[in-house]
């Protein structure tokens, strides 16, 4: 499905990561695999450091902390927020929506719209599309898009298919109208028939959490995981990304008459270094144009990784000027999405620690 927008822009990005850092060298002691094999994996996948929340910290805690930081520095006024969107798979509660929790904690005005969207690694692009749609309304002038997860709380420490790559974070992206003639093009695809490749089996209405769903099971390759934990079919997801994402971006460029190689940056979701390098090779994009260094420094935090790639790699460029970028997200659903837009100049673009 294709989308086109005019006169909208991202005006600022703040990424919030927990100060609590874990290292792969520490984590690998939990794995039932020889050290030498784990070290080789570390080198190829780019596993190293990642940020995870302390026990009990929720996604709303990161969001409230980040928004208060922006308010205190007058980078955002609470009364200017007309809509709050949260892209996350880790809500505080099943009910109420986490955006309502955040609105209440911050004392935001009642004359606004709060919306939770259950999306993951493609969520930043989905959230931008939703934000731009909101901005078509006369009554909505500024949207705050929150995207991220605290999935470290839902992974098994004895599952090396997923544990070493998951990090926690939230990105706060301010989206508003633009007086210029900016053009934004996007495309989204979804395939629910493959949804089980990335899932948490227990915890919803289909299979509520229970003592039985918390029991660790041997799931092969020396990994232990419970039904309460996040499951990823790594081979299926890898193949999905390599097969589906390049034609998606090529079709988007072709539809809009853009030369795929003319853009400044390809800011993709950050699953691991290996997958991104293979994606860049397949699309013949120089590795320097497609940053892949988020996982090694912070871990994979779902919908926060694209803005995080932006904040840690191109912040100076985007605070001083603008750049043509292609954003691409892919993950649970399965969902894959891409967007062509001009980024910058941004009034803020930084990363802060949640203590």
């Amino acid at each position: 499905m294709n989308f086109s927008f005019r006169n909208k822009r991202i005006s600022g990005v703040l990424t919030v990561v927990p100060a609590n850092e874990r290292s792969f060298l520490e984590d690998m002691k939990n794995f039932n695999a020889p050290e030498a094999r784990s070290l080789k994996l570390m080198e190829v996948m780019g596993y190293d450091k990642r940020r995870v929340v302390s026990e009990g910290v929720c996604i709303s805690d990161l969001a409230v902390f980040g928004l208060q930081n922006l308010f205190s520095r007058s980078l955002l006024k609470p009364e200017d927020i007309d809509a709050l969107i949260l892209i996350s798979q880790t809500p505080d509660y099943l009910v109420p929506p986490t955006t309502s929790v955040i609105q209440g904690r911050l004392g935001l005005k009642q004359d606004m719209l709060c919306l939770d969207i259950n999306q993951a690694c493609a969520g930043f692009v989905i959230g931008l599309i939703q934000s731009f749609m909101f901005l078509e309304q006369e009554s909505i002038r500024k949207v705050v898009l929150l995207s991220g997860d605290v999935l470290s709380r839902k992974v098994s420490p004895k599952d090396r298919t997923i544990y070493p790559l998951v990090g926690d974070a939230i990105a706060i992206t301010v989206v508003e109208r633009d007086s210029g003639e900016s053009s934004i093009e996007a495309t989204v695809k979804m395939d629910g028939s493959r949804g089980n490749a990335l899932s948490i089996p227990a915890g919803g209405m289909r299979l509520p959490c229970s003592p039985q769903t918390a029991v660790l099971e041997d799931v092969g390759d020396n990994n232990l995981r419970a039904k309460d934990h996040l499951f990823m079919d790594g081979s299926a997801i890898f193949n999905f990304v390599q097969t589906e994402v390049p034609p998606l971006i090529n079709a988007l460029c072709s539809r809009t008459g853009r030369d795929i190689y003319s853009g400044d940056y390809f800011l993709c979701h950050q699953p691991n270094r290996f997958m991104l390098q293979k994606l860049a090779d397949k699309m013949k994009i120089p590795h320097a144009k497609m940053p892949n260094n988020v996982v090694e420094r912070f871990g994979n935090s779902g919908g926060a990784t694209i803005p995080m790639a932006l904040t840690i790699n191109v912040a100076d460029h985007l605070k001083a000027g603008s750049a043509r970028a292609c954003l691409a997200g892919f993950g649970a659903g399965l969902t894959w999405a891409a967007m062509l837009l001009t980024l910058g100049p941004l009034s803020f673009c930084e990363l802060i620690d949640y203590p």
């Binding site: 094999r37 080789k40 994996l41 080198e43 190829v44 996948m45 090396r160 298919t161 390759d221 790594g234 081979s235 890898f238 193949n239 990304v241 390599q242 097969t243 290996f274 997958m275 390098q277 293979k278 994606l279 090779d281 397949k282």
Partner: protein
């Protein structure tokens, strides 16, 4: 330049890869080993094996890996 068998031996020294015709079925390689193997083959032969070719059937045994490498432009020692 190392041979495919030598690279496999570096990844899983406990196995004799020349004696197997199906590494996955024989429990000699898992999906993580396959990733490590692809990175090692890329580096050794100066190629980039396409992500869409990283499938178990292409890594079933030494012959299938060599077929894949030739398709990717690698020059193998006789």
């Amino acid at each position: 330049m190392k041979s495919v068998a030598e690279i496999l031996k570096e990844i899983r020294p406990e196995f004799d890869f020349t004696a197997s015709t199906d590494f996955m079925a024989d429990g000699m390689l898992d999906s993580f080993d396959m990733v490590t193997l692809v990175a090692a083959l890329d580096k050794n032969y100066g190629i980039s094996i396409p992500g869409t070719d990283i499938l178990p059937e292409n890594f079933q045994n030494i012959a299938s890996i060599e077929t894949l490498l030739r398709r990717c432009g690698a020059v193998l020692q006789p």
